[in-house]
């Protein structure tokens, strides 16, 4: 009987993969239609120089990492909170 279950599982997974592939193609096609972003402006060289000095005194990269993490965690939480609210685990 295992071959039967394997066959059914294979069909199910292949069908799911086909859907995912279709989604991927659709997303890629849509993204292909979107305009590219203009090039990002560069900081003036003097500012880059000063930033290098600031980074010499203070780990700006660490602050950026922390803020990135906090914003990311908060964004995730906003999603998780919806699910937990449905389960009445957290307040609305």
């Amino acid at each position: 009987m295992s071959w039967l279950f394997d066959g059914i599982a294979t069909l199910a997974v292949e069908a799911l993969n086909a859907v995912i592939a279709a989604l991927g193609a659709a997303v890629a096609a849509v993204l292909g239609l979107l305009p590219s972003m203009p090039s990002m402006p560069s900081l003036p060289d003097r500012m880059v120089q000063v930033l290098g000095w600031v980074n010499w005194f203070f780990p700006v990269g660490t602050v950026v990492d922390i803020l990135t993490f906090l914003v990311g965690a908060w964004t995730v939480w906003l999603v998780v909170r919806v699910l937990l609210s449905w389960a009445k685990v957290v307040a609305e």
Binding site: D6, A9, T10, V13, E14, L16, N17, I20, A21, L23, G24, A25, V27, A28, L31, G32, L34, P35, S36, M37, S39, M40, P41, S42, L43, D45, V48, Q49, L51, G52, W53, N55, W56, F57, F58, P59, V60, G61, T62, V63, V64, D65, I66, T68, F69, L70, A73, W74, W77, R81, L84, S85, K88, V89, V90, A91
Partner: protein, 572 residues
């Protein structure tokens, strides 16, 4: 069930988990940045001697004396005067060297061992070397002539080759290496982050923008030219999207009368780009006059922003005085590769050979690092390779074939036998343009070769999302990029401040005239420790700030209240 309905208990549990995650991330960040070879660790590394990079030749210059010379070289405004001298119409004499015919390895450097040209000007000699990749394929640059065509292609440079291309008076040096065909990596031993990018193929957009192929601003030092390595390496390319005809120039400048080829500045510039029509047609054996009158003035103008002397002097003065200066705007406007639709054709991105065991995700990251802006379509490879063959034993996620521009590169035969990546065969190396939207990749499906049940493959979706940095989603990428620009490498402040002398008709000198030369680089090691401590404190504070609220110290056990309270303090 009652436990799970307890908001306080669940809140505490969720908070504790998030606290652990926060602490783990903090630990990973700190250790990754400061303890395991991060940027600060790199700063503390000793400066390597150029002896380790390449052997120097000619004029009796030894590795040691050259290195000493670099350290002792004075900061002068030599380059500024050199520009004037060149534009006065200096004419030199001599023959273009043929390093290949001389049997010399492909190495560039100060010295006359390869018989570089020498320009006699009123104030300076302009010493430079000329390498034409159309040289006969007898050198190790071009490889085996029988491998294809009569022209050389840059992508056939021997992998692993390393060339020292620039020095600064204070000892920084710049090298480029060829880790694999078609790719250049630049390395500077130290310097100022984000000073300027290096473009191996200074493709212009009509205004001097140079689009790097394999170098990304803000990436690792391996791919970013930092510091004062005043070298600009420019590889030309033909309009046929081939590197055939590529030319590399390296200029060396020395003061007149000096018996030493002082590497005050190494300025490198090709001749195409914005001046494609004025590129020298001179081949090997051409006289200096032929080449020089064609392009040297134009070349310098191209470097110095179309002959703008004010900009030129500012740039060169900044370089020579040891301050960071942006040489080239690396922002380019996309053109249409090879069709003439754009202002200039784009240099192709040669598809790198997938590394052993490399997943397609990692491969796409490498492509993105080469400035590729497109997205990939990922399919499962449905080929039924014979049991036990290399193709059948390939790990899930392995790239089995790549299709781009109608060409498919297979990595295995239908019998599962590996196929060598088409390296060095002109016209066969798969390549894409930077703005090509899609390439198709077939990968070994996860779970294949096992129970027979394929695994769920999210690759098509994740692959498609690689092109998400487009409007309007690209705003996020923008923000990230801009914020990332603030995260530069630490540079010790240095100010050389001259207070002007104030005089009056009756008094030749009232006040001023002092000079304050402040240089804090001697504190680099200690500041590295200080930044490490600051980083620990910052992360500890962040962990405490969020964690204390998540576990209910201020949130009453409800994680939603805790997070809102924590973030509310930040967002106001």
């Amino acid at each position: 069930m009652r436990l799970w309905r307890s908001r306080a208990a669940v809140g505490a549990l969720v908070g504790a988990v998030l606290l652990l995650v926060t602490a783990a991330v903090a630990y990973a960040k700190v250790t990754d940045q400061y303890l395991d070879g991060g940027s600060d660790a790199a700063v503390a590394e000793p400066v390597a001697s150029p002896d380790d990079l390449l052997p120097w030749q000619g004029d009796g210059i030894t590795d040691e004396s050259l290195w000493q010379l670099i350290g002792d070289a004075p900061n002068t405004n030599a380059a500024i005067q050199m520009v004037d001298a060149v534009e006065e119409g200096a004419v030199g004499s001599g023959l273009i060297a043929d390093p290949w015919a001389a049997g010399l390895p492909v190495k560039m450097g100060v010295g006359t061992g390869f018989s570089g040209l020498s320009y006699e000007t009123p104030s300076f000699d302009v010493r430079w070397a000329y390498y034409d990749l159309q040289a006969p394929q007898t050198s190790n640059l071009c490889g085996d002539a029988s491998a294809g065509g009569s022209d050389c292609e840059f992508d056939r440079v021997v992998p692993g080759q390393q060339v020292l291309v620039g020095f600064t008076p204070s000892g920084q040096h710049l090298t480029w290496t060829v880790p694999e065909p078609g790719m250049l990596l630049f390395s500077a031993n130290t310097g100022c982050a984000g000073q300027f990018e290096v473009g191996a193929n200074c493709v212009n957009n009509g205004g001097g923008g140079r689009q790097p192929v394999s170098v990304t601003a803000g990436s690792s030092q391996e791919t970013t030219l930092n510091g004062l390595g005043a070298a600009w390496l420019h590889l030309e390319y033909s309009t046929g999207l081939s590197y055939a005809g590529s030319t590399v120039y390296v200029y060396f400048i020395r003061q007149t009368g000096s018996s030493e080829p002082v590497p005050v500045r190494v300025t490198q510039r090709g001749t195409l780009g914005p001046y494609m029509g004025e590129s020298p047609a001179a081949g090997l054996g051409s006289t200096v006059a032929q080449v020089g009158l064609h392009h040297i003035g134009e070349t310098l103008r191209a470097i110095l922003e179309d002959g703008d002397h004010e900009v030129a002097r500012a740039v060169m003065d900044g370089l020579l005085s040891g301050t960071c200066t942006i040489l080239c705007d690396t922002t380019a406007t996309p053109g249409d590769p090879g069709t003439g639709g754009g202002t200039q054709p784009w240099v192709p991105i040669y598809l790198p050979q997938p590394l052993p065991g490399e997943t397609f995700e990692s491969y796409f990251e490498r492509l993105a690092a080469r400035q590729w802006l497109g997205a990939a379509i990922v399919h499962d490879d449905s080929t039924d390779y014979p049991q036990g063959s290399a193709g059948a034993q390939a790990a899930p996620g392995t790239i089995m074939s790549i299709t781009t521009r109608g060409t498919t590169i297979h990595r295995f035969t239908p019998l599962g036998v590996p196929i060598n990546w088409p390296v060095g065969v002109r016209g066969v190396i798969p390549k894409i343009a930077r703005q090509d939207q899609q390439i198709a990749v077939r990968v070994k499906p996860a779970g294949s070769g096992g129970s027979g049940v394929p695994a769920i493959n999210m690759a098509p979706l994740t692959g498609a999302l690689t092109g998400l940095c487009k409007f309007p989603f690209g705003v996020i990428c923008w923000v990230g990029g801009i914020v990332g620009q603030f995260n530069t490498d630490p540079v010790a402040p240095g100010v050389d401040w001259h207070i002007p002398t104030v005089s009056t008709p009756g008094h030749s000198h009232i006040l001023g005239g002092q000079r304050y030369d402040v240089e804090l680089s001697w504190l680099d090691t200690f500041m590295g420790w200080a930044r490490l401590m600051e980083s620990f404190v910052l992360w500890a504070g962040a962990v405490w700030y969020v964690g204390s609220r998540l576990i209910g110290i201020r949130g009453g056990g409800d994680p939603s209240v805790a997070v809102d309270a924590a973030m509310g303090d930040i967002t106001g």
